[in-house]
Structures are given as structure tokens and as C-alpha cells.
Symmetry: C2
Subunit: 127 residues, 2 copies
DNA sequence: AATAAAGGTTCCAGCAACTGGAAGTTCAAG
DNA sequence: CTTGAACTTCCAGTTGCTGGAACCTTTATT
């Protein structure tokens, strides 16, 4: 299967798939014409990667998850630990964003937002 | 005022301050020895930038906000529009993260997380 | 059979917003 | 006078791709 079809099948752009190969996430076979050749299990891995990335896992997390995915003797505890760590990270980010949102939205509410130059938002930023 | 003191006064690292200069956010004076020289109003701008960045405004947003901040004839509506746009962006990000969190946390809850290889998280990622 | 279009290949550059490090001034203290 | 801190510039690396150039192979059309 050519990279274009692999892209179609996995939902990842060809560029991204080549990039994943470059950083050693996934090594496809090569055909006589030097074209990459993706098997069913490659496609499976690509879809796995696509989902893991869409859930916000870092590339390094993905590397570990993929390795655990391919390890028939893995302990589910290892996977769970990575996922838990990632949830904590997500919670941290959500917290930060909500903090920003609250501050910002207080400033926006205080601003009349018309043609006059007086502006509580800028004043708030100026401190 | 030297860059080290400006860093101290603004809370931004010297590297960041130089970077802001490089991208044209803020032009300090130069002394005879080629050292950068920051005035009170420079410090004010740096603190403004530090706060705006900590609220998640992009550098380009900051550039506009800083320009509005320095414009005595600005309309507060312009500022409010930028801030509103940014809040929307924050809301979008929060939404995405919460979506991820929900999916991920369902997977984590389904995973027994012990020494056995059976793992709903990996199965979920595999699709 | 010739050719054009589509899809493959490599490599290099760039995005955001810094950050680290090297190599070379200049300044302040003892 | 020397040591060390703080300053200068420039280049490389971070994360995770993405765009483009230059070239090769396959496929479709004439």
C-alpha cells in the first residue's frame, strides 16, 4: 500500500506519516522503486497514533504506548500510568485556561467597548 | 537601566526581552558601550507584555494591544474585540481539552491497571 | 510511443515563542 | 591587576509538523 492510501486509511497526511518514520515511530517496508509499502498492521499502528495524538498524547507518550501496544506481555498498569499522567497534564492546562478566562472576562465585562479611549482592559494589562 | 534590571523589574528573562526586541515589539535605547538602556516606560511596556502573554495573548495580539496601549486616541471597542476573540479561542481550547479528558478518563476507568496485559486503554486507542 | 498528470522520493526552511550555549566585550569589586 | 559577573551577538534546538523545490516513477490519455 502506497503512502497516499495509507494516509487515506489512517487519516494522517503523508507528510506526517513520513515524519513519524523519520523520528522512528514506524518503519514501513520499501518496494523496488523505493516507494514505501504499508501493510495492514502498519495501518493499524498509524490509526493508533492518530487517535493517541488526537487525545493529546505527546509523541514520546505515543512511542511508549505503541511499544506497549505491541508487547503481548505488557502490564496494563504501565499503560494506565501514562494515561493518568496525561489526564493530570490536561487538568493542569484546563485550570490555567480557566484562570485566564476568568481574568480576561472580568476585564472584558468592565470595558464599555465604544469609541472612547478609556479602556479597563488595557489598564488591567498595564497593572 | 541594564537588561538585567529590566528583567528583574518586568519578570521577563533577559533572553525573552532581547527576543521581543528582535521581533520589533520594543526598541530600547543603546548606551555608548552598546548596552541596552531601558527607561521607565520601557519597563511599563515589558510588564504589559508579561501580563498579556500570561493571559495567553499571542505575540501578534500583544503587538496590537501594545500599539493600542500607546495610542491616546484608541477606541476601547478595538481592544475589546481582540480580547473577546481571545476568550473565544480559550473557550475552544478548553472545550477540546475537556473532550479529551472525558474520553481518556472513560478509558482509564475501564482499565483494571494491574500486571495483566489486557488493557481497555490500548484497545480504545486501537479503535 | 510520446507525453502529461499524478503521485512518489529527498532535503531544506519555517511556524511559535522562546531557551541554551559559545565566543567575545565591558564593567565593578577587591 | 585580576577575577568574575553581566553584557553583546549569533547559532542551534525545542514540538510536531507543514510547505516547497527538485527530481523520479507510475498511470492515463492522445
Amino acid at each position: 500500500m502506497n503512502i497516499g492510501d495509507a494516509a487515506e486509511a489512517s487519516g494522517l497526511p503523508p507528510k506526517t506519516i513520513r515524519y513519524y518514520e523519520e523520528i522512528g515511530l514506524l518503519q514501513p517496508d520499501r518496494r523496488g522503486n523505493n516507494y514505501r509499502d504499508y501493510s495492514g498492521s502498519h495501518i493499524h499502528s498509524l490509526r493508533f497514533l492518530a487517535r493517541a495524538r488526537s487525545l493529546g498524547f505527546s509523541i514520546e507518550d505515543c512511542r511508549q504506548l505503541l511499544s506497549l501496544y505491541g508487547d503481548r506481555c505488557r502490564a496494563s498498569a504501565d499503560v494506565k500510568a501514562i494515561a493518568r499522567g496525561h489526564i493530570e497534564e490536561i487538568d493542569r492546562k484546563i485550570g490555567e485556561l480557566e484562570q485566564m478566562r476568568a481574568t480576561l472576562s472580568a476585564l472584558v465585562d468592565a470595558c464599555h467597548g465604544d469609541a472612547r479611549p478609556d479602556c479597563p482592559i488595557l489598564e488591567g494589562l498595564a497593572g
